[in-house]
Symmetry: C2
Subunit: 501 residues, 2 copies
Amino acid sequence: MSSKEISITDAATVWEPLLRSILEWNPEPEDKDAVVRFVPPPKLFAELKSRLEVGRQNGSPPEFVLETVKFVLRHCVNTSHPLWVNQLYGGVHPLGLAASFLVEKMNTNAHTFEAAPVFVLAEGMVLGEARKLFYEGVERGDGIFAPGGSFANMYGFMAARHVKFPQAKETGFFGLPPLVLFTSEESHYSVSKAAVWMGLGLDNVVKVPTNREGEMRPDALQIAIQEVKASGRVPLAVNATAGTTVLGAFDPLIPISKVCEDEGVWLHVDAAWGGSFIFSPRLRGLHLRGISRADSIAWNAHKMLGAPLQCSLFLSRHEDILRGCNSLGPSSAPYLFQQDKSCYEVAWDGLGDKSFQCGRKADGFKLWLMWVGLGLDGFQTLIESAEDASQYFYSKIAERKEEFLPYLDGPQTTNVFFWYIPPRLRGSARDEEWWSEISKVTVGLKERMVFDGGRLLLGYAPLPYKGLPNALRLVLPAYPPKSTTHMDTILRLITTYGEDL
Amino acid sequence: MSSKEISITDAATVWEPLLRSILEWNPEPEDKDAVVRFVPPPKLFAELKSRLEVGRQNGSPPEFVLETVKFVLRHCVNTSHPLWVNQLYGGVHPLGLAASFLVEKMNTNAHTFEAAPVFVLAEGMVLGEARKLFYEGVERGDGIFAPGGSFANMYGFMAARHVKFPQAKETGFFGLPPLVLFTSEESHYSVSKAAVWMGLGLDNVVKVPTNREGEMRPDALQIAIQEVKASGRVPLAVNATAGTTVLGAFDPLIPISKVCEDEGVWLHVDAAWGGSFIFSPRLRGLHLRGISRADSIAWNAHKMLGAPLQCSLFLSRHEDILRGCNSLGPSSAPYLFQQDKSCYEVAWDGLGDKSFQCGRKADGFKLWLMWVGLGLDGFQTLIESAEDASQYFYSKIAERKEEFLPYLDGPQTTNVFFWYIPPRLRGSARDEEWWSEISKVTVGLKERMVFDGGRLLLGYAPLPYKGLPNALRLVLPAYPPKSTTHMDTILRLITTYGEDL
């Protein structure tokens, strides 16, 4: 049987070995510690190209596809490895993965109850649970799942626009005074990308200065807003960040919300990374205090929490705001939102009309099933163990002052930004040349991580706004859980790779 | 063991029964013919809510999760059923599903080679293959995967904006003359939604009239463009549709492209539904002639072709256009796009910067693996069999003139828009009241489909622009393949349900 003739009914049998090999967690036990088995891009490209050439015209038999899948699995980065601490996402919790498989298999769109009854209801339910957490018991309001944090932020800015200038839905921006977004210099670049896509323009994004820790300065925000007003432009929204990408800083939400209230500006909180701290009664008081004052919130459950990519929530305390922003009325798509439907109340079908996309993956179900299985307690345990691991890591590098130099006096939640000092640079004067060498050592460390068996992937970055050269950036998604042994291994690998750099 | 304690390593064992139940194609053989087992929204909501309540605080054991998954599977709509002909997507090909599972398991972002080496390369490769097809051998150009057709269309309008007014990236639309999008009255509502999000406004969307078949009239387009120019507004882009949502109409691309050339306007083709005809040498000549003249194209491989949702390609013949539109420069995210990286050439990491989202699902891999396994021949077979099924269906209703009334003289590719006439209305004068009754019969048919064992889901819609009342809309995604038996079953069910309506 060729792969062309395989029907849906015999798929489970025919593809059994293929599905097995995907489900096996360690397909190559002899090499299971690798985070990446590096192949240079041109070489990997050539190998993949030759496989496509085999099947390009006439297809290829299941055995060849199986062998190709095994090749692919071997050369994917293992983001589920505890030493993948390279990005703000990582392993996927088995419950989330099972939910993903279910969503993939059912292959439907979260636009109407008719097409996706369970998924549409589960999405509404889990958005309600999230609102109760972020907005302190408030059940009403609005929300939707977006295909990533960039779009979740954009939903927030669109909501701000709709409240300030509802006529822009009809007229566009032509003839309006320039509208301005405020965000910190450390915030995510999706704020600027949104300004480009929304027709605001980069000139109308004001980057507010931060303090040493990378937190937006409320005094500077207030001045910036007043300057914009004085110039005849109109403040549209403030984007505060709860967990910045590099330093893991949390903008002070209470003073920022006061500035927003005083100045009459929408407050959106980009909590894509740090929003998961909501599950820890202890840590949410430290990091997320005041978030309930936000007009809208973006939170990526696929980052720290270990939900499968994508799982991005947009939340607002304003009821029915999304329909106002995005709906063209059900009559704009009468083939989908039939208003004379007699099987059930048509109001249950409104989801597609209030989204930008109409058709969407049923991402909400993944968080719903994780919630059923893990509960608030399970989420809390995951999040707090990530915080514990970063505290442990920080305490270890703080002890070894000769070898390590953290930028801040403590971890910024689950981010640690630090330099490694190789033996040849210890004890020297920390002048410009010394810093230049440290910056190169950081790049060299990355190279060794990749080339020496790929046993660790940990990112590095400069911090241009602070004038800081390349430093290592440890980030700890909560899944898979990180132990003190993992932290010790990271330190050992860095010092081994760096000894002669 | 509670679900909280399950680690990634023992997931395969613990969740084995759960994964099994998801992979089984017919979990309930006694009832395997159901497309939907309908439960009214409030009742289903209550059942799902009670399950969430069980685990809400402390989580729930694997057995309860398994039982919940089985409940969910039972109440999902089976979009893989051949009698799910309700939307422009349907079943997912087993190869695509296997690729989805792999992508879900590897849980990474298609933003850099470092994070997703295989996926980033496979995406580029499959976009190149698609460009060669749509642009008749042209390999260069640009492309990206978008989270759905709405965003793929928006990429096209952003590209048009960038070419016409590159300064808008910095200044926004303030101070510019109004920019106008042209699209047919039958086109997808994502064009209007894009105008809202992009700051153009609904007033700046011109709906061009169509002919009886639902195809945009090139003469009307030319007049509309000239009127806009005369009014001092600036034509930005024409959106032509290859496969409209209701009638399945293909706008005539050659005359439209000539108008666009003459008037200096960007031509974007929304081929979300009809783009898959590119795989049939016979049908692409009929339906997609001239598509190579498009400046940009959106195509959803998850619609007719049976790739898993989402699998939306944006293609352009303009090289490097996406970086121009969307990039803020690699220095905007130096933690991700390190320019001094020494492991490999940094150019391989540019994907995130040229996308709007930065982080994205690796949707491209799904199409890549399907291509390896099925090849061009396999895709062709799938697409042509869908066309054959609609031809067969049309011929059957055309024969039975008493019972059925098709709107057009033949199927519009894989869409058939038609009315069923119950016995009581046969032979009567077709006056206003008669049409009003037919419209209600159509709604009644839908209700019976849902309530009578849910053995068929087929949509209905009015066509307001043509002043047409509710009609049945048959749409045939190519996977799972549709046989003449399926078509006969659809006709039999309609006549059975409708006999006494």
